[in-house]
Symmetry: C2
């Protein structure tokens, strides 16, 4: 993978997606080769045109000579056998370009761990030598907000029809945006939405970074240069004032605790059926309460040690 | 709380929200008093009018003599000091009715654990004696889909402007809906959206339950009786064919593993700064890779045991 083998990279990404237990060791070995890339998050409600916008931004960054990775967190439907049509189309623009690597992360059948898998895939792209990593999430929810913690610059994409700005607040988007984009700006209400967002942003306490609200029409390639410039300006800002470095330090500690917790949870899940078969059966049939059962295991130091101890 | 003290109930809910470690013991003690309520999930994109719809459904269920609990998972903004305006207004309709208990669960500053807190609050409402628990999530994302696993009947609310049905697929909503509602059905495109959803549902393999697509205008109180009837029909269906019971069994095992994993993660987080102070400092300053650090702890059985062992 370090020699530039894209197939090897893709295989490692599948391990991240499948939460394979040996990935931590691989990421630890890759660590000296990473740490040079910058991550940009693009989020917003379904249908806002994020995929087209990402496509356009990738085009600009490629034209400037950048090496680009894209992680698209893509809730997929079992009917289509994976990514839905729109994503397949999007990928074709850059799929023949060897300096662009695009990966869809499926959310199908997943329970938690999505932010973790995304972070690990971003780390793999970083170690692979990408300068810029774009992380696109479909949806507006808590997990999507968590995923955006990986990104140093967060772009929130809205469309005039996305509802009023109260909805933006309800979705928690006002707090995470470094750049707002009103896409499909040729539609009714775009200017009003821009004005409302700017008003709402002015209600916040003064900050060193002023969040811009940009108008784009991604399908007509309008407003993209301004967006790329705004991302670069924010990147310059957080790199200069040290906040990017402070955030990265906290993220490293969080990542450490997260992988530790997830590995132990995996060990417990793999061993519980053997070590506590009767208890699990009682929980399943409803004769034992799940919380009482958890307390029973937690109050049994010998059993607990057998569950978490890698040598057990 | 079991004597009907609403303040005691609210205090226990705060413990669930704050992930207080002693809640598992409390839930275990309450278990014999619960297990009689039915949980209905209401989800969809921000701005779809879910709050008004929930309000109307609560009104119908109250008129039929039900005891109702509502859990509103509400991403809140720091500017408003908690719930945004819309939620405050909504709650006033039923806030004087002692048989309706409404709780907002804030997502502010939260990292994961949202589905767990919601499930625990639903359990508290169950033990408190509520017949029906409505769980409303704002947003369309992975966590919101996870939360809906708690519900036995899931209602997905859309509006004509919510985009085309491809977006519904991308958000994973087609797989979780037992009832679709196109709200604000007086707007353009409502009938087309209903037809598209019905077409898409017909592409699925035949199933014993046919997902209805209903038209509502919650603010005018139209279509609510049909929605309540559809929910009752689905409830009857899953209770009769045993699928509700099978799903509940799997959820109990998942809940058991989840609380076990979360409790251990909490222990590790509380103790890691003492037990591995130098290691955490190196991760924070970037001289130690987070994954290498996690492997170091996982490969140290004695240290690991001290971290997870309640007696340590």
């Amino acid at each position: 993978m370090l020699a530039g083998d894209r197939v090897a990279l893709a295989k490692l990404m599948s391990r991240a997606e499948n939460e394979t237990q040996d990935l931590a060791a691989i990421l630890a070995r890759l660590a000296p080769h990473g740490g040079r890339s910058y991550a940009i998050g693009i989020t917003g409600p379904p249908g806002a045109g994020k995929s087209t916008l990402v496509d356009r931004v990738v085009g600009r960054l490629r034209a400037a000579g950048g090496k680009i990775g894209v992680v698209a967190v893509d809730p997929s439907s079992p009917f289509s056998g994976g990514a839905v049509l729109g994503d397949r189309i999007r990928m074709q623009t850059h799929c023949l370009d060897p300096e662009v690597f695009i990966r869809s992360v499926s959310t199908r059948g997943r329970r938690g761990g999505l932010a973790r898998a995304t972070r690990q895939i971003a780390r793999l792209l970083d170690a692979f030598g990408k300068d810029t990593i774009l992380i696109e999430t479909v949806g507006v929810g808590q997990t999507e907000l968590d995923i955006m913690e990986v990104a140093q610059t967060v772009v929130v994409v809205l469309v005039p029809e996305a509802g009023d700005t109260i909805q933006v607040m309800k979705a928690g988007l006002l707090e995470i945006a470094h750049v707002f984009v009103v896409n499909k700006a040729d539609r009714d209400g775009a200017l009003r939405m821009k004005a409302e967002l700017e008003q709402m942003l002015q209600l916040r306490p003064p900050a060193a970074w002023t969040v811009p609200v940009l108008l784009t029409e991604a399908h007509r390639d309008r407003g993209i240069d301004e967006l790329v410039a705004a991302i670069a300006a924010h990147r310059g800002h957080v790199t200069t004032d040290g906040s990017a470095q402070r955030a990265a330090a906290e993220h490293r500690v969080r990542e450490f605790l997260d992988v530790l917790g997830a590995t132990l949870a995996g060990r417990i899940e793999a061993r519980i059926g053997g070590a506590y078969a009767a208890l699990v059966a009682r929980v399943r049939e409803g004769t034992q309460d799940p919380y009482a059962a958890a307390l029973e295991v937690l109050g049994d130091p010998d059993g607990l040690r057998r569950l978490v101890d890698g040598s057990g």
